[in-house]
Symmetry: none
Subunit: 201 residues, 4 copies
DNA sequence: TATGAATGAGACTTCATTCAT
DNA sequence: GATGAATGAAGTCTCATTCAT
């Protein structure tokens, strides 16, 4: 690897590091309650240097969404590639989603509390599915394979999509709010069964 | 009605007016992008006077959530009181929810974009279901009546709750984002069928 | 005068006060070396309040130019209204210009060091003669009356304009730079004679 | 030429290249709106290296003025050395000045918009005529030769100086502002005639 | 020489809230 | 109750300059 390529790689590494910290802070405190100096401080770098990597707070937030979406999509892809029934895949999807929400809550929270909420920030490059395309694609694959195998009804994609993400996201949100009576894991069976019932052929 | 009560009534009337405008602005521009002077200007009143009615921006936001929740709950209550099957009630619920989202989008958007998003604002009086209790209660009634009549499975409340609100909220959000291929009304059947399938006995 | 009109007047008074201070500071230290907090401090008011009167530093600079141009134009107008020869008027013009430059140097310096120099600031509303129109108009009157009376050659306005303002502005600038060997007043005769010779019939 | 001298020459070459680019950028965008990184980028070199040639932005600006003044002085010198009447020399001076302003506007603009405007930058080495001495000298020569030949009045140098530079600079400025009604060349005759009239014996 | 990441002080601007009238 | 000028802390972003490589 040439000197040039090495530097480029180091730069990407640093950007990733910034994205990770920003994701956590944004998700925890909210977009407008997280300041650039705070992010810089947490990273042990200066504000000025932070701006050498991302031209604005908004751009940083967009990059975070893009990257976080990729991380989540990876897990989903692994599930899609397994050789099991769609019913089982849905169960695994719920387990995986809950597990992310417990171990890396910033990924889900970033989506729920930053991306879904502060739409104005994501104008200009992140509208609609633009920055979460990878996750959407995996859900799409899950659904179309299920239909192909005759296990799922052939229905409108968007309806199916919200019938999966809605309940999962909802229960994770309620868990974050502390209103659930039992630990999140307890809801794996009931939520995945409801999703399955909603979609099955 | 005495002079005292009359004044009290006028005051309540004015507060309601403020809440309505604040709900719309908060829902449209987001909590942090709406300033108190803007709200005052939209109302044709001074900032100082605005503070005579609400002690802080946060308190205003909480009151908005409480009031908006009441408005939505009213519609749901009407549905609950109808004498039809649970399946039909679910359909009516979806229709009603979509209709609110189209005619008074600020009610739903306030929930999605302000309440769900800026949790820090609602600390101290609006945690969990505290400010949306009326809506939650109506969903509870819908579910328990359905179970009573043997039309719905007897399952965990929270799971059932997100199986209803998740898909409805999700599709409305996507509609707001402009990613749906067809008008919102088109999704009434598919969404309500999915919800019904998820919950039915 | 009604309460409303009174307040309006007070507000205009305050704006004028701000303009005066800003003119002096901008002219002395330069546009980019004068900060809004400095202006506010000099005025004994808060930055925030300063922004209640002018929406941005640029707008403030434009308003200063407009106002300062008016002040200078007033003096020129008085000269134009006198009943003397054009030669004498030119002499008075030079005297008046020098006198302003000595007693209220910020007026001339603002023009020389802020307006002529930082063109980017005055884009959007102050291009060309837009903010100094009053001064230009008075020069125009001086010239056309002189031509009418047969005392001045009938020549291109722009050429005549720079033949007046160029030497006057130049000598005042050099005086500010401290390179002149004698006090400014000493140059009244020579400068006005040169201008007269340049323009006379 | 020894290795040492060669290196020295290369270094001077590079400095000149930097000065040219800096002159253009400063003149176009203004001193405070041109950043050192921008200059470096335009030159295809790194900021760090730029600082190997000039110790600070201010020093660079001063060197630019010195160099640009030399370039302009060269043209004037050629005129001074011609064997024509002073009247003709003044005409040639105007033509030359206008021509520079059209073909290399950065030279004149640098003077008008950077040097005249941002006096604080040129403190410490460039006060008064210190960095434009060469141009001043040529004007001086033009004037004293004219007096010697009996073609010009023997008058105060500073007055004569501004009677030449003022109108020329003024019309070029107006041209840059886009307020002139005709192309710059059109003003050669009228401006040089006015200057001549102002100075002639 | 050459690179460009890193620094950090400081600029402009915003806005929830107060308070004299 | 009603007004809106006033406050000042805090936020985003810039940029001349340095320094390890």
């Amino acid at each position: 690897m040439g000197r040039r390529a090495l530097k480029e790689k180091e730069r990407e590494e640093k950007k990733l590091q910034i994205v990770r910290v920003a994701c956590r802070l944004f998700a925890t405190r909210g977009y407008y309650n997280t300041t650039m100096p705070e992010i810089a401080k947490e990273l042990g770098m200066s504000v000025g240097n932070l701006y050498n990597y991302f031209p604005s707070k908004e751009e940083l937030a967009k990059e975070v969404m893009l990257t976080a979406s990729g991380w989540v999509a990876e897990r989903l892809k692994a599930i899609n590639e397994e050789n099991t029934s769609t019913r089982e895949k849905i169960r695994k999807l719920v387990i995986s989603f809950f597990s992310i929400s417990l171990k890396e809550p910033e990924l889900i929270d970033y989506f729920l509390r930053v991306f879904l909420a502060n739409r104005e920030v994501f104008k200009g490059g992140c509208e609609g599915f633009a920055c979460v395309g990878e996750v959407v694609t995996e859900i799409m694959v899950l659904l179309s394979k299920g239909v192909e195998k005759g296990e799922l009804r052939n229905q409108d994609f968007f309806t199916a999509f919200v019938s999966i993400m809605g309940p999962m996201g909802g229960i994770v949100f309620l868990n974050g709010e502390g209103v659930l009576e039992k630990p999140l894991e307890h809801y794996v069976d009931s939520v995945s069964e409801n999703i399955w019932n909603a979609l099955k052929a």
